[in-house]
Symmetry: C2
Subunit: 213 residues, 2 copies
């Protein structure tokens, strides 16, 4: 089972590594980090680089296609090699998935028109403007399309995906292996639960603040 | 604020990337992934490589020192350059931290003797045998020592650390930025909540099964 995770300049590491850690533990899984060029890709903080082990042209028909988000998403909204690869890969994939603003890239490539999908909480309006039936849920499945909200939501999505692919017990074993029994010390992980002044501060300092809604 | 995250052959990616994603967002944070040699380090699945941007000798006095776990931990239990670096760095660090079996490496280097600490749920006995006051909690603080349980526990630890370093509001803003409002689809993330047969299966297939308790 070939799993292609797209990486690009200024992606968010955890968007990619969360689902990788889950999906790579599926029986028979082979994860490949791919990019336009097979080279190290530096994340949004510039403080970490992950190696792309193959080019997108070397893996055109993965069983699972996953697109992480991050500030670099903004540079991948125009048609080009990545969009063409996404459209080709989606034609034969068993699952097409995204984390955070990765769904904006899928939408810009024309793959989410009329489909139920989610994204980072600050990107829901933009996702809707790109033609998706956007909903601010944490994980959304629509047929073979699996999208998730910001960053850490990719872990929850990947566990659901693992159960659909390999059954409940395998997914539970993976969850235990990752000791995924989350105990966040604060209740500030969603705009619905975070203190209002925190939501406003994050919104004000975000790159989304400069974009038209 | 210099943050050194040690990586090595066959570490678990999410152990390192979870805390990185939190701590790199602290004001003034500069995270550096370090290793004995500045080269790509391949994870336990062999399906991903992260770049070590500096050698351990280039960063001997980080403010925060973090050691992830993973199967490769077993090759770092003997005294040598990594242990010497850990002891040196710990002398001046503000915080010394670990995720999962990273605490076994700290213990083997002599840094956890008599200290309250945690580890992967399957490594608690080994941690105790190495001289720590081992406890199967998710996150344990003992003075400047911060240890966490398996893999994903590093995210919870890092958020607590973020609050201690930069205050509650900064930590809450980071949590919201990462949309860390976990909704695991199953309740199988701890040996206390997972179905008994899942716990036994994970135990049987684990590398810990072959080790003396």
């Amino acid at each position: 089972m070939d799993i292609a995770i797209l990486i690009y300049d200024r992606f968010t590491a955890l968007d990619a590594v969360g689902p990788y850690e889950v999906l790579s533990r599926l029986p028979g899984a082979k994860v490949t980090f791919v990019a336009e060029r097979a080279e190290p890709k530096r994340t949004d903080t510039a403080q970490l680089a992950l190696l792309a082990d193959a080019t997108i042209d070397e893996l055109t028909h993965p069983d699972i296609l996953l697109v992480p988000g991050g500030p670099g998403q903004a540079a991948l909204m125009d048609d080009g090699p990545v969009h063409r690869w996404l459209r080709t890969a989606d034609q034969t994939s068993t699952w097409t998935a995204s984390v955070c603003t990765g769904s904006l890239i899928l939408a810009a490539a024309g793959l989410l028109t009329g489909r139920r999908a989610t994204s980072n909480w600050q990107a829901i309006d933009e996702l809707r403007a790109l033609g998706a039936d956007a909903t601010p849920e944490r994980v959304v499945f629509d047929g073979k399309l699996a999208t998730s909200a910001g960053v850490t939501a990719g872990i929850d999505m990947a566990l659901e995906l693992a159960a659909k692919i390999a059954g409940l017990q395998v997914a539970q074993a993976i969850q235990l292996g990752l000791e995924y029994d989350p105990q966040p010390p604060f209740d500030s992980g969603s705009p619905r639960t975070a203190p209002a002044e925190i939501v406003e501060a994050v919104r004000a300092y975000s790159r989304f603040a400069e974009q038209p809604a």
